[in-house]
Symmetry: C2
């Protein structure tokens, strides 16, 4: 009985996600769903990315968190439109939440909408939000075994960002292992190595994303 309910729920989510995607398509906005562990550097990456993209495109952000508006305030300080979703304990965003939050923007003025999911390497994997691209972040400080240990979310992503590469010299993170594990799970995925704080690899990532939005 529970399993049927869960299936129904997922099916309903998929349907609503398609409606979100149609709406985003009509609005001509490119939508990215960013997933990764708590503290993997999602918001810091967005701050660095938006600085690189400032003259090229107009972004907006939906922030997903259990509680607080810490991340939304960081984005707002950049003068970028942002809506905070507080999930009140839920471990991932779903298409319903995104549909509600997506009402808050003027799409005529937007090229890119980034949805920063709740920090979680498990639950967001099962929920399409209506995005065009799913980016999964793995930070160097988390360790190179995480792709093997949490395969679902990596398998379902289009892009892997290995972040905090400025910490490589203080860690035993093996980039080759992480890349090999990702290629095994998601052969088509793009892979970037970046450090938002040190600026490593950010130009390439910004150029690539700008081209996607074009």
């Amino acid at each position: 009985m529970r399993i049927v309910a869960a299936k129904k729920l997922l099916k309903a989510n998929d349907q609503l996600a398609e409606e979100n995607r149609s709406r985003f398509n009509r609005s001509g906005v490119f939508v990215v769903n960013v997933v990764g562990s708590p503290g993997c550097g999602k918001t810091t990456l967005l701050e660095a990315l938006f600085a690189k993209l400032a003259t090229r495109l107009a972004p907006a952000v939906i922030e997903g968190d259990l509680a607080s508006s810490i991340d939304a305030e960081r984005i707002e300080r950049l003068g970028i439109p942002v809506v905070q979703i507080n999930t009140d304990g839920a471990c991932h965003l779903d298409a319903t939440m995104v549909a509600a939050a997506a009402d808050g923007f003027d799409y005529d003025k937007l090229d890119l909408l980034v949805i920063e999911n709740v920090g979680n390497l498990v639950c967001p994997a099962g929920f399409d939000l209506g995005e065009h691209l799913r980016i999964v972040i793995l930070s160097v400080s988390e360790g190179d075994d995480k792709i093997a240990k949490y395969p679902t979310i990596f398998q379902k992503s289009h892009v892997l960002l290995i972040t905090k590469t400025d910490l490589l010299k203080y860690s035993n993170f093996n980039v080759e292992r992480a890349v090999a594990d990702m290629k095994h799970l998601a052969p088509e995925a793009e892979i970037f190595q970046v450090s938002a704080l040190a600026g490593y690899g950010m130009d390439d990532l910004a150029d690539w994303l700008a081209a996607k939005c074009g």
Copy 2:
């Protein structure tokens, strides 16, 4: 209808957790549930802790992961009894899984059983496993805002370990902020600052845990 099912499920979990705890009490083994984000350093901490405790007490471990036996193999290399639970996608351990895994040990030979939960700062918060003590880990590389952003799991823990303190000098992590946030949510909680790799604070933690098992 779904809400009722979820409540029933949680109630059933609580009941089974109490049965687990009674069993652990009868066996005279102290049981710790370790929770934290993917890559916060749970397994590395256990390796360092068991090295410190080797002459004082006999531990065993239950490892929880979505997939793989990477962590269990690391524990097994230390000659410590270990059972791996693969949740096959589930985002946390529950009391049923622990009851099944707990059959695998000879309790006459054990003082301490550590349950390493699935790496997740959200979902494990709601599931009592029958432990005596819940330890939540926050690594320096995750950032000092995580207690405010993921309050439930911190509020429901007895001990906060701030790990990877060897990275403090490369980060903007504010220990005072993290400690203040934890004291606000869980005034009674013990707080330790450690680096398993550099050895900082590990003697104090090992002494404290050995006394608990006493």
